[in-house]
């Protein structure tokens, strides 16, 4: 392993004068024994899956239960009306994140980033920022390797599982990964990417996993919307030169400890939070009958 935490990752990128994405690719070569071309081709295929999922979601999908679907389309129409209050790039990211997660809820094909429940955030922001920064295909692939590098640290030092660490571990991690990648694609330094990750994750700490009826629909789809907008905001803050007072690795560790002390009812058991609201319970009964 070339790096085990964010500090080592950033030091490597700075010392070698390369992008974070490049460090991740080098580590992948070392760990898997695959060639650079094979590894890049593999990520290229994942990128294609993400593109297709966004495309499908923007045409409008509905989940089996009918609980989610169609919101990505509504948002795109709203952007086109010219009345949007938030910036169009931000809303485009939100719409594309929602599109991906609506496809996921409809049991369509997606690429987990880092999980399926949080699969909208990274591609949503990537395909929105793409419209502004006009990256090459290779730069888009690098965006995903940068996300992978930060996700790798979180997964090994904390968690990326809602059942283990709550939604902060899923959408929180995804949002931080995306923020770091946006910064790098926009020409920020490795250190700024880490600041963006830290700022993002700080705003996600404590977020619980409380899916209504145990479905990856409510509130998951809208949490991806929030994850995407959080990532965009934090990336801009880091690019503006704002830093996090708490270093990224310590924020990740705080997330891990918070997850550990989170009650089971709030970790993907559908027993607490929004799942336990009167409406949440009613929806569960409507979908699965009285007893599940």
């Amino acid at each position: 392993m070339l790096f085990r935490n964010v500090a080592e990752l950033i030091a490597l990128a700075e010392n070698k004068g390369v992008k974070i994405a490049e460090i991740m690719i080098q580590q992948e070569i070392e760990v898997t024994g695959l060639t650079r071309d094979e590894i890049i081709a593999k990520m290229d295929r994942n990128l294609t899956v993400m593109e297709q999922a966004v495309e499908r979601g923007l045409k409008g999908v509905t989940s089996v239960t009918g609980l989610t679907g169609g919101d990505a389309v509504l948002l795109q129409k709203y952007i086109q009306s010219g009345k949007a209050l938030s910036g169009n790039v931000l809303l485009d990211a939100v719409s594309k994140a929602v599109a991906t997660n609506e496809v996921n809820a409809a049991m369509g094909i997606i690429c987990a980033t880092p999980t399926a429940g949080s699969a909208g955030v990274v591609p949503g922001t990537l395909f929105a920022v793409k419209e502004v920064l006009k990256p090459t295909r290779m730069e888009m692939i690098e965006f995903l390797f940068t996300s992978a590098a930060f996700g790798f640290v979180v997964a090994n030092n904390a968690s990326i599982s809602g059942a283990a660490g709550g939604c902060q571990a899923e959408v929180g991690s995804a949002s931080g990964m995306a923020a770091a990648s946006i910064v790098e694609m926009a020409g920020g330094t490795p250190k700024q990417a880490a600041e963006a990750m830290a700022i993002t994750l700080k705003n996600m700490l404590g977020l619980v996993c409380d899916p209504v009826a145990g479905l990856v629909e409510v509130p998951c789809v809208k949490r991806n919307a929030m994850g995407a907008s959080n990532a965009m905001t934090a990336a801009d803050m880091a690019l503006a030169g704002i830093t996090s007072r708490i270093p990224c690795d310590e924020v990740i560790n705080a997330m891990f400890l918070i997850g550990q002390s989170m009650p089971s009812a709030l970790r993907e058991t559908a027993e607490g939070g929004l799942a336990a609201t009167p409406t949440g319970r009613r929806l569960q009964e409507e979908i699965f009958g009285k007893k599940q």
Binding site: M1, A148, S159, S161, G162, V216
Partner: protein
Amino acid sequence: MKYRSAFDIIGPVMIGPSSSHTAGAARIGRVARTLLGKQPSKAEISLYGSFAKTYKGHGTDVAIVGGILDFDTFDERIPSALQLAEEAGIDVIFTVEDTVTDHPNTVRVKLSEGDREIELVGISIGGGTIEITELNSFELKLSGEHPAILVVHNDQFGVISAVTNILSKHQINIGHMEVSRKEKGKMAIMVIEVDQKIGQEVMTELEGLPNVTQIIRMVD
């Protein structure tokens, strides 16, 4: 390090809706199927923790059965796996357990066909990554940091040394090894963690050994 690859984070490509409860579940089912070596006639599946509470919403049931049918995580037949299993004549029994397990996403899968039987416990640790923690009542302790193989073999003298001889011939160093059997003279297993990557030619050579039934990569 439980996660080793960039593609553990950006991936897998999968049918929704949950990487841990759908893709991970499908992978555990598929490992069980691979270990049995053929399609089972009976599958007994016990769900624990978050798996037990939310399996219907996450499609955990169809995903595990899809895995048992040898489907990959992105196979579009997963949503209809229960029906396909019935058509294939597989008797599928689901049990929801109350017991509290170490990991919230735990499943026990028991597959049988004729006189062959396999029972494992799998956990889905997030993002589609899984660990097999128990096989045929034998606790597996894999660090996940090094490549590991599982050798299923007949409980006969000389099998262990034959396997380690091949590894040593290829200059592969063993970091950790456990052997176990159900009954004297019957099926036995070895779990071997090594420092170097085990190439396909080594795998083929191991598979060719007398009394070795199966070689499976547990960690790449």
